[in-house]
């Protein structure tokens, strides 16, 4: 076995056998799924709670306009006074009482209406009541202007505009956002991986320094080999962790679906039909075929290309950052000294995430999105957010992809070279915490 392979193997095993790694690996999916189940459960409880509202309507208006639905149930009160109605509501334990007094016209009746509750009412209830009032009042005002109820019903429809590209393909609203979210998920994954596993690399370097084994090792192997082996071994451990997560999360999700009786075919029907569905065929108006269109669009996202580029950007980005982490670990004696050096690393990552989410969402091919997807320290994240839109016509221009990867490779070589120099000197330096000036000096040793 080559020395590099030996180092990779040791680093991998050291990480994977670590108790906290094992615990985190197996606990995280359980926690995640547990959280999802808890949220679903709590939401269900909340939804099941139907609020009952008494309606005391003394006016001739609004009769039968308050219709019970899934979350609110209206009970009509008749022939009782306001005070006794209030008392009964409190005694029965209803949510509230809507009181509409008699008045000369609908406007006056509405203005004089009151909604009584034990505590301040929830905003969804208020909204529901106000919607009914608003609709009736608007209808009344239009009638006053000579528009009949039938005419009003014809007018009162929401309108959705149809959109299409010049090539004639139907566009779907929100698709850019969906694509950016998919890209964003990839970008976010890269950021988390860099921060977590870069930190592991750094701690591993510090451990070798503090345990004083470093000089024994580098009398057998080149410092660069050790650094490289460490980075690769740690990242393989990380990939193992992700693989276990994806695998166990899938199984757990299956269990959850089975237990809670969610019908998976309902969720997947769109996707299943998608392959046989022609996107250009339908200027569909029903909700169902719109869903089909979305599914079709998602299906048309170039997943193979996306995953391919994810791997390229992930590997280059991870190596750039983790070699900086290794250099930091080499420069200091303990973890508390690392803070001042880590902040400048995290900064471009955070910037990439936030700029990515704000600018790529609105304008995936605008100047800011382009700039950040070319700049090598942010491109692994920002470019991945743009790529779900495709490459070439209508997507990211090919020259940008090539430039971005070219810059990334150049930076990768430069940064790894610099980091290796700092690492080589730093691992043999003990004692004081170095300044940036000293790090710069080390480059020339």
């Amino acid at each position: 076995m080559s020395k590099l392979a030996l180092i990779i193997k040791r680093e991998y095993l050291a990480k994977v056998r670590n108790k906290s790694f094992v615990i985190m690996t197996f606990l995280s999916p359980v926690l995640m799924v547990g959280m999802i189940v808890l949220i679903a459960y709590l939401t269900k409880i909340n939804d099941n709670d139907i609020k009952t509202i008494g309606v005391l309507n003394e006016s001739p208006y609004f009769t039968n306009k308050f219709e019970s639905n899934g979350s609110i149930s209206y009970i009509d009160f008749r022939g009782v006074g306001l005070e006794s109605a209030k008392d009964s509501i409190v005694n029965i334990g209803f949510y509230g009482l809507l009181y509409i007094p008699d008045a000369a016209d609908m406007e006056a009746a509405a203005s004089a209406s009151y909604f009584y509750t034990q505590d301040a009412p929830g905003s969804s209830i208020i909204d529901a009541l106000e919607t009914v009032f608003t609709k009736q009042l608007r209808q009344q005002r239009l009638q006053d202007l000579g528009v009949s109820v039938a005419d009003f019903d014809r007018v009162d429809h929401n309108f959705d505009i149809n959109t299409a590209t010049f090539a004639g393909q139907q566009n779907l609203k929100g698709l850019n956002e969906i694509k950016a979210i998919i890209g964003g998920a990839f970008g976010y994954l890269i950021m988390m991986f860099i921060i977590i596993y870069g930190g592991f690399v750094m701690r591993s370097v510090i451990e070798e320094k503090t345990s004083r084994i470093i000089e024994v090792i580098i009398s057998s192997v080149k410092p660069f080999q050790l650094m490289l082996g460490k980075i690769i071994g740690t990242s393989l451990a990380g990939i193992t962790q992700f693989a276990i997560w994806i695998f166990s999360a899938t199984i757990l999700l299956g269990v959850v679906i089975a237990v809670f009786g969610i019908d998976p075919s309902a969720l997947n029907s769109g996707a299943e039909n998608a392959p046989g569905f022609s996107g250009a065929a339908a200027y569909a108006s029903t909700a169902d075929s719109t869903m089909q269109l979305y599914a079709n669009e998602l299906f048309k996202i170039p997943w193979a290309m996306l995953i391919g580029f994810f791997m390229v950007y992930f590997i280059l980005g991870y190596f750039i950052y983790s070699s900086i982490y290794a250099a930091i670990g080499a420069a200091v004696d303990n973890e508390t000294d690392t803070q001042q050096f880590i902040f400048p690393i995290i900064l471009p990552l955070m910037l990439a995430i936030y700029v990515g989410f704000f600018s790529v969402f609105n304008n995936p091919h605008g100047p800011i999105a382009v700039g950040f997807s070319l700049f090598p320290l942010t491109s692994p994240i920002v470019m991945l957010m743009r790529l779900p839109g495709g490459i070439g016509e209508g997507g990211v221009p090919i020259w940008q992809v090539i430039t971005s990867i070219g810059l990334l490779i150049g930076t990768f070589i430069g940064i790894v070279w610099l980091a290796a120099k700092i690492y080589r000197v730093g691992i043999l330096m003990y004692g004081k915490k170095p300044t940036y000036k000293e790090l710069f000096k080390w480059l020339r040793y």
């Binding site: 076995m1 020395k3 030996l6 180092i7 040791r10 050291a14 670590n18 451990e207 070798e208 345990s211 004083r212 084994i213 000089e215 024994v216 090792i217 580098i218 009398s219 057998s220 192997v221 410092p223 043999l428 003990y430 000096k441 040793y445």
Partner: protein
Amino acid sequence: MDNILVARGVSKQFGKHIALNKVSLEIPKNSIYGLLGPNGAGKTTLIRIINQITYPDQGSVFFDGKPLEDKHVAMIGYLPEERGLYKSMKVGEQALYLAQLKGLSKTEAKARLKYWFDRLDIGDWWHKKVQELSKGMAQKIQFIVTVLHQPKLLIFDEPFSGFDPINANIIKDEILQLRDNGTSIIFSTHRMESVEELCDYIALIHRSEKILDGKLTDIKQAYKNNIFKVGLGLKNVNGLLEDLQDNFQILDSEYIEDGQQLNFTVQLPSSDTGGLLAKLSGKGNLNNFTETIPSTNDIFIQTIQNKNLHE
């Protein structure tokens, strides 16, 4: 080639600090070579250059007659002064790993480790974690790992620090054994007294420069100054001391055992002891007649003083 390692005009500079200034050394095969000097003199820098951990700014190093290159690391065993082990790794696993990094195959390393673990009586440590071991125990593991790949050249930097006297002796015997089996050894220390019984050759490094090197016996010969210690069992001889004082430079004298024994130290003008012995013959039983040889420490101090004088 009878030198395992030759350094020619090796210089190394860190920023403004000169760590080594044109140091040249010749380390003969099959010997123990003491690299001596106070802390910070440049010993460790020189050793790191030999191990190709750092590289010289100027000068060159030859290993077994050839310019130093990558493959030579497998022929060198290095026990650094700053040494340690992975704390959470098991002893056996860790020793195997370090041996494999030196180029041994796994089976070969395992067999040799078993031999050494039995030899140093630590066979039952194989599955222990390093953090369970005492400092001295960990040092034994480090020693084994250093010599395991049977290097042509062994470099020990302060090998005895961290050992109790018993284990230090065991390790010392092992080092001598390795030398007798044909290994060349560089032994770096700032504690001069440990040098005497081990080293065949020494070099003194002081303030980044080599100020003295050669065979230890030759150096001692060169630095001895004809001072002899004499113990004489007297046979009722009066006036002997006065007579001696007239003819020789007596540095120090005393009578012990009620005047039955005279001990004195004498400075002779040359290494010729014939005159003194003639004078003493018939005056009593010569119990003790030894030449005082300067300790390495004395030589070191004297050399530095001479050097400072000349500067």
